[in-house]
Amino acid sequence: MVNLVINSKHISVEEGSTILEAANANGIHIPTLCYLKDINEIGACRICVVEVKGVDRLTAACNTPVEEGMIVYTHSPKVMMARKVTLEIILSEHNYTCPTCTRSGNCELQSLSEEFGLTAETYKKRMVKMEWDQNFPLIRDNEKCIKCMRCIQVCDKVQSLSVWDIAGTGTWTTINVNNGLDIKDANCAICGQCITNCPVGALQARHDKESVYAALSDPDKVKVVQVAPAVRAAWGEQLGLQPEEATMQKMGEALRQVGFDYVFDTNFSADLTIMEEGSEFLQRLANKDQNKFPMFTSCCPGWVRFLKSQYPDMVPQLSTAKSPQQMFGAVTKSYFAEKIGRDPKDIVLVSIMPCVAKKMECTYETMKDEVRGQDVDFVLTTREFVKMVKAANINVLDLEDKPLDDPLCDGTGAAVIFGTTGGVMEAALRSAYFLATGKNPEPDAFKDVRYYHDGWNEATFDIEGTTVRCAVASGLGNARKLIQAIRAGEVEYDFVEVMACPGGCVGGGGQPIHIHHNQMYSVRAPRLYQLDSDNPIRFSHENKQVQQLYSEYLGEPLSEKAHHLLHTDHNGWKM
């Protein structure tokens, strides 16, 4: 242990701790801006500087280890002066358009400025404009970038894709796509982790709200919305709601008030995915010699993009099942259109997703056809949905808990956990067990694959004498480690689930952003498991509406019609 004094408080911390960690552990607040624990501890912004007695110059608290006998002042006049000037300089290269900025309210720079009580601009603005393709789902605004380097570090260290890099030198240093590439050519998975870790609004998801409003105002259209599983664990956060107050039913009512005619649930197609993907897995397993293993899940578009760009030879190992979002689109614009007797092209389908990559996924060539048009027309992030609720001045707590709309609203407990890492695997195993044995397992029999950590989870299950070796990874850096181990022959699996974002969709790039809390997946995942255990039906194959869809329309899993609507060729589009 190392003994030191911070602001006259005598404290003792573990050797190797930084001054910032020592302060945090003892309830002393040191402001930070570029700092991201374990990922970006590089003292770039100079906001966290502190005074060490006996040393003239200030020291960055975030990456300076404590020393025995050190006396630290976190808010001395010298520190306060330097921090304020630094903040003013940072502001001089930040184009603050707070009223129209998507990050107003959860911007770390805005919050710091308020904390420091800044009242005037000291320095002349010096911003450099850079061109950006405004149609790409990920948007970067150089005039807002404060060069904290977090995006570079997150993409390097967490996602292992290194999409971002330093560009230019000296005063001209900024961040841009690696190797000067155009973002669309940079093998970006569009996971959006750089967005949720950006302290300001320099990185954003493309805004599609206005297109949705335009569609909602068209009287000739049937307006349909689907809501992804992970959204329900997060949407209430920025509306000041407790998790149990932010019910799916209230969310449905809010969507109706915004103008949707039908509010459906992606949980429905999550269960449908299990029927297709689970059957496909059993089929591949039955023909083991004709198939390469492991089979990979295909519900996460960020992961699919990663595999296509990094390990193209392994793409045939992806399940051919479309993601739940896209299955939902295909069913809505066929089965449902027939049910209500409307031309599929009269239907506008909007998805509310915790994801940025979904905005890209719905535009792939393979996700549209002549008859139905584009299966999913628009994708809004959870954040965009929250903004629509705010704009409509909806008081959510006053809304009634009305059920969602038939016939695409039922979802089982197995479906709702699609929103967290391990959920797809667990749901698939629950039903695969049934499909193979004709009887249900204990619902929680496969919970060994739950929860995020560095590396991957693995579990081996016995389904009536057949051993199934499973692995679950989230975060693309972890996915890369897993794939490298598979390719090196160090590990062998039959079935592997990957989600691009750490923790899965609950930690998705489209989810609400909170200052100083980039690990919300750890708060949101338990909510989904709660919803699972609260649900009287916990097996996808018991979903009544899914059963109805098969009996009335598709026949059985992997039928020709199911193949046509619910499966895809991952090589049918280019990155």
Binding site: R57, T169, T171, T173
Partner: protein, 610 residues
């Protein structure tokens, strides 16, 4: 009223003077990977501040140039601006009244010419084509990328053996380099922005002197692969050391009676004592290297045989052939080559020049070695004959000063014309012509005939030290490509169309420094390992101490002290003293820890393994 005043600097002038001095240090510390246009802008702005303001071209033209360049940097430039910059610079160059203007503009002309592509990249793509990728200046400048801040931090903590282990991760010759490395690592040391570069070699010497015997790390499990290494100098032995650590079996074929190459057969004992060199060699050999001494590989058949018997081949034969000065009577009795002189010493055969007058032709480090050796061999008088000025010599300054202090004289601007012999063909003197320094050729001031008559300098011994050649004939006969007499290997030590054959060190680059030869051996080891289908990693296992917080006040650099010249020039004992504990601690604490502060803590601060 007084008529005159003694000129003195005002306080303001003194500060400005200080700015210029600090600017000079900063320029010394600069790494060449900044945006070239940004550097050009900085240059033009400085020139602008020097303009006296009288003439249009300089006063206002340089300002316009700066504005135009800044516009390109700001991303608002267009392609026409490049031509305008060029035309403006051309005009200022042609029309400015004095050098302040025309030399500034001339540099801008050169900039546009040499990096027009970067101007275009700024204009068309809105970005610079350069990246800041050398965060730790000393490590970047060290050809072997030794973890310098790491071992300096270890030195400060008194962990000498760990410091040696950390150095050996990249360089198995810590002791030899501690004594004789040319230390390019010190050239761009960021400490120069405060006062002076860190004495890196001195600190290395300190840890090597203090550490005592430090065993080599354990070798990785045997791979069963065999590699033949031709030449047991620094490059070959480095390659052998790392390949052994990776689990391969190496055999070194050395033509001479001892290992060490130029470290033994080029550098005299007073600079690198044999027993200190042997410390490094013993450690290298302890990893299991097989050695065949007195085994010269000098026929295509022998090379072919090695190629067949071994899985890979590394050629590191060095540059041990003397170069002739091509004067009449060069084969006269009394004329010897530097290579022969130092080779004899390498085999412990010291010459006796008692009562003789010795002349040395050359201006490099080898010439200085020969000079100082001749002094120690008891010569009455030793002089160096050099065509250019002392300032133009390629030898290290400390070597030149050392030679002078020990009693040798350097005759600058003297060009040899012919060698005079007596009737028995014995050397009696060297005819020379006085030169004057003149116009630049290939970027260097060149000598020209000063217009005086030829004269003779009498001498009994003439040492020709004008460079070394490479005995590459057997290898070119074998079919390896050569360039002049060098083996044509690339920066990866690969040889075109010769899979499994690698080459590096002096024989592939021409005579260069020890650390470059070591770096080539390290590169070859990595690429041979890769070629054999492995990916072994080399790491030190040493944890570098974290940074500590203290101010870096101005503090002078501790230089190594030398033995009194008139005492040391009588024998071949080491001429230099190491640092004291106190000196080493102060020097180590001067280090700015660029591995952590600055870009280092973000990227490129430390390579834990390679």
């Amino acid at each position: 009223m007084a008529r005159q005043k003694i000129q003195s600097l005002s306080a303001v002038e003194e500060t400005v003077d200080q700015i210029y001095r600090e600017l000079g240090s900063r320029v010394n510390a600069a790494m060449t990977n900044a945006c070239p246009i940004d550097v050009a802008l900085g240059f033009v702005r400085l020139c602008q501040s020097q303009s006296c303001g009288k003439c249009t071209s300089c006063r206002s033209g340089l300002g316009q140039l700066a504005t135009l360049i800044k516009r390109v940097l700001d991303g608002y430039g267009d392609m026409a601006d490049i031509d305008l910059i060029e035309r403006t610079a051309q005009s200022i160059y042609l029309s400015a009244d004095c050098a302040i203007g025309y030399e500034a503009a001339n540099m801008v002309r050169l900039c546009v010419k040499s990096f027009r592509e970067d101007f275009e990249s700024h204009i068309n793509q809105g970005k610079c084509s350069y990246f800041f990728n050398r965060p730790v200046p000393c490590v970047s400048r060290c050809p072997a990328n030794v973890d310098i801040p790491g071992y300096i931090a270890l030195a400060a903590e008194g962990r000498h053996a760990d410091a040696v282990r950390l150095i050996r991760k990249d360089n198995p010759f810590p002791t030899a380099c501690a004594l004789i490395c040319e230390h390019p690592c010190e050239n761009n040391c960021r400490r120069q922005m405060i006062d002076d570069s860190i004495n890196i070699r001195g600190i290395k010497r300190y840890v090597c002197d203090k550490a005592g015997f430090v065993p080599a790390p354990a070798c990785q499990p045997s791979t069963g692969k065999k590699i033949a290494i031709i030449g047991g100098g620094p490059s070959g032995l480095t390659c052998a050391y790392f390949l052994q650590l990776m689990g391969h079996q190496t055999t070194v074929f050395e033509s001479k009676a001892n290992l060490g190459g130029m470290l033994r057969y080029g550098i005299p004992n007073y600079r690198l004592p044999r027993e200190r060199l042997q410390e490094d060699i013993d450690c290298i050999l302890s990893t299991g290297v097989e050695v065949k001494l007195n085994t010269k590989i000098d026929s295509p058949e022998e090379i072919q045989k090695l190629k067949e018997e071994y899985d890979a081949l590394y050629i590191s034969i060095g540059a041990h052939k003397d170069k002739k000065v091509r004067l009449e009577n060069e084969d006269a009795d009394g004329v010897i080559s530097a290579v022969d002189m130092l080779k004899a010493i390498g085999n412990d055969e010291y010459p006796d020049y008692t009562g003789k007058q010795v002349l040395v032709i050359g201006g490099g480090n080898v010439a200085m070695d020969c000079t100082r050796t001749a002094v120690r061999a008891g010569a009455d008088k030793v002089s160096v004959v050099y065509r250019r000025r002392i300032a133009d010599m390629t030898a290290l300054q400390e070597e030149i000063f050392g030679a002078q202090a020990e009693g040798a004289e350097i005759l600058e601007l003297v060009a040899p014309t012919r060698i005079e012999t007596d009737e028995n063909g014995k050397l009696i003197g060297l005819w020379v012509k006085q030169q004057m320094i003149s116009r630049y050729k290939k970027g260097r001031p060149a000598p020209a005939d000063a217009g005086e008559d030829e004269y003779m300098i009498p001498c009994d011994i003439l040492v020709v030290a004008i460079g070394q050649g490479i005995e590459s004939e057997p290898f070119s006969e074998f079919g390896l490509p050569t360039k002049w007499d060098q083996i044509d290997a690339d920066d990866y030590t690969y040889i075109k169309d010769q899979p499994g054959v690698f080459s590096g060190g002096d024989c592939a680059t021409g005579p260069a420094t020890v650390i470059r030869a070591i770096a080539a051996g390290k590169t070859a080891a990595a690429n041979i390992d890769e070629y054999l289908g492995f990916n072994h990693e080399i790491e030190s296992g040493v944890e570098v101490p974290p940074v500590t917080t203290y101010d870096r006040f101005h503090c002078g650099r501790v230089n190594l002290r030398e033995r009194e010249a008139v005492v040391r020039n009588k024998n071949f004992e080491p001429f230099e003293y190491g640092m004291t504990d106190k000196e080493a601690l102060q020097e180590a604490k001067r280090c700015l820890r660029c591995d952590h502060f600055g870009f280092g803590c973000f990227r490129g601060g430390r390579n834990f393994k390679w």
